[in-house]
Amino acid sequence: MSSSSTHDVYYVPAPSKWPVVGSTALFLLAIGFVSLLHFGKTQAYVLLAAGFATLTYMLFGWFGNVISESESGKYNAQVDASFRWSMGWFIFSEVMFFAAFFGALFYARQMSVPLLGDVDNQLLWPGFKPDWPSMGPYNATEFHPMSAWGLPAINTMLLLTSGVTVTWAHWAIKKNDRTQLVLGLAATVALGLIFLFCQMTEYGEAAFSLATGVYGATFFMLTGFHGFHVSLGTLMLIVILARSLKGHFTPEHHFAFEAVSWYWHFVDVVWLGLFVFVYWL
């Protein structure tokens, strides 16, 4: 088969060690985590460090392979379409992951807390007022929930603005304006980092913890997983920025950029849900 026709067929990669390396990494992380919870700390840290190192090695190697395959033109339009479908479905899976935690929040607010305050439970928990936010009837003390109109409102503006800057960068890539692309991406990364800084400040100032009943649990799990996703998104944007500086991407062929921007918009939308249902209402 000549090399010119290679472009017409769907690219099937050669055998690769990365999947097994990745599985090894996750296995090490899993047993390291179990050790951390139940056995010696030293062996846990060794296992976790080995796991993270292996995972990092795999991520660099695997994404490195994909980037070099992409840059050498092995991915035709059909492969590009595969990437688009898969990123869409991946984001859908992430939506469903957050749906589990939003489901817990709505269940706690609409079902479990009101039920604890109903007539049946008056004998068990006398005097419990089922108002939201609640830390439950046991050990109930006054605490200050997070207000929506301080840092969270600023964070909302930061993320919404970053949605604009990443779109501005996308316009640049389509009209092949490298300077605007780099500026737009750099601004988006900066906004992401400022968001994370504000979020950490907010956590530091919070007058409650993960253990503050179901309010603390839903608050920190939802905002925590969101913050983790913003961190990943920022890392991904940094990679795209570095690739843009190296001259990767063309006006026609830049799905890596688009995938990251889809992901970025997704974390943005999740934040709006958080802002409304966790902080505001």
């Binding site: 769907y10 099937v12 992430e94 649990a217």
Partner: protein, 525 residues
Amino acid sequence: MEAAHAHAHDDHHHAPAGIGRYFTTTNHKDIGSMYMWFSLIMFFVGGFMALVIRAELFQPGIQIVNPDVFNQLTTIHALVMIFGAVMPAFVGYANWQIPLMVGASDMAFARMNNWSFWLMPPAAALLVGSFLVPGGAAGSGWTLYPPLSIQGGISVDMTILAVHIMGASSIMGSINIITTILNMRAPGMTLMRMPMFVWTWLITAYLLIAVMPVLAGAVTMLLTDRHFGTHFFNAAGGGDPTMFMHIFWFFGHPEVYIMILPAFGIISHIIPTFARKPLFGYASMVYATASIALLSFIVWGHHMFTVGMPAAGNLFFMYATMLIAVPTGVKVFNWIATLWKGSITFETPMLFAIGFVSLFTIGGFSGLVLAVTPVDITLHNTYYVVAHFHYVLFSGAIFSIMGGAYYWLPKWTGHMYDETLGKVHFWLTAISFNITFFPQHFLGLAGMPRRIPDYAPQFTEFNQISSIGAFLLGFSQLLFLYVVIKCIRGGVKAEAKAWEGAEGLEWTVPSPAPYHTFETPPAFH
């Protein structure tokens, strides 16, 4: 590496030699085979646990295992069979068959495909290995309900992490399958001309992507409740153990259909082949599959009629559950209508398919019985439930997997399997299956609770019949292993179209299918 990439398509037309290739392979047939072997091994591991359970239940009293170990066995038996045996078997079939059926050169993401498989052995090691840690394996039941799962030991954490890893594997595998189906069909194969197995897997993969992350969320909340002070499932902190059940079954019910929709697909290929007639009502089959999938999201409450939901909730879930009988009935009707006036022959795959239609329907009807809220309040957590779900999972999912294996073994190995032994295997399986599980209906109706190692003496006879059947059923499966190995090692050469009545692109390539097929898309008419 670069050179290998440049010639990715002309330097390995033949399978690379040596067992080591399986660690790095990007070939859908290699990966499909690994999934199937993994599934078969886990089937025997889970089956061994089932036999220990049945041996303990042979007579009242505690004989072989203590109650703790008994609970661990029921828990891990279920998890191993669901996540280790049934799901990987279907993914293995998807890997082998979908590219062949839609005329694609491989799966859309061949490297990620291998990762989906290679996540399974570490997850299985965490799950099965948890028997060896202090305190033994998780004994909370496969549903991992709190507070029991929160009080459990090290093994619960191992189980949670195993579920996370298997979930990641399922999500990657499903994205791969959906993308392959949507983007890599041969020109001319419109959605409504796809083989039924491909349709059922498209919908199954959608269900997996929708609900596996929800399970991941649920077990993550368990983990934080266990170790990091959260109160999701603790009423003292304003949470609720029932909340876990809602989130779990929002995953759990679609999961049930994840384990049966591909089975429907396989049966929809076997019956037309051996009835020598096209599938009756193809379009209605597609719509019925989609309806079952959509309904699966709004019926989870029928697993928890006894937890004290409002009456309106119980009624809603009862009626929604009964609605599922409509599309399922459409399917059974279509299979029977396909048989009508067909030129039927009874090779082993057809025997399993007919066994499937008959016995799965019994499981469907006992499901309808359980859907009735007032009835379920009596039957909840009795052996009637155990009988019901083994009728849908063993004589449903596993029968289709066995039938599918006999049906496609000629394509996979290039040899016809031993038809006589295949038929013996079917009859042994079908008869011993009914000996095992049919009496459990009576036990349940009489009030015998499940997940208890001891029972009242009046239940003894039916339990003894059930245990004898279980041992017969278990050891009969060794015959399957023998038939498969014998078929791989030799036998009558299979033609490209191994079955006279078979239709589809997979029967246009030689048997065994070459290492690479459809490198350029085939013509589809």
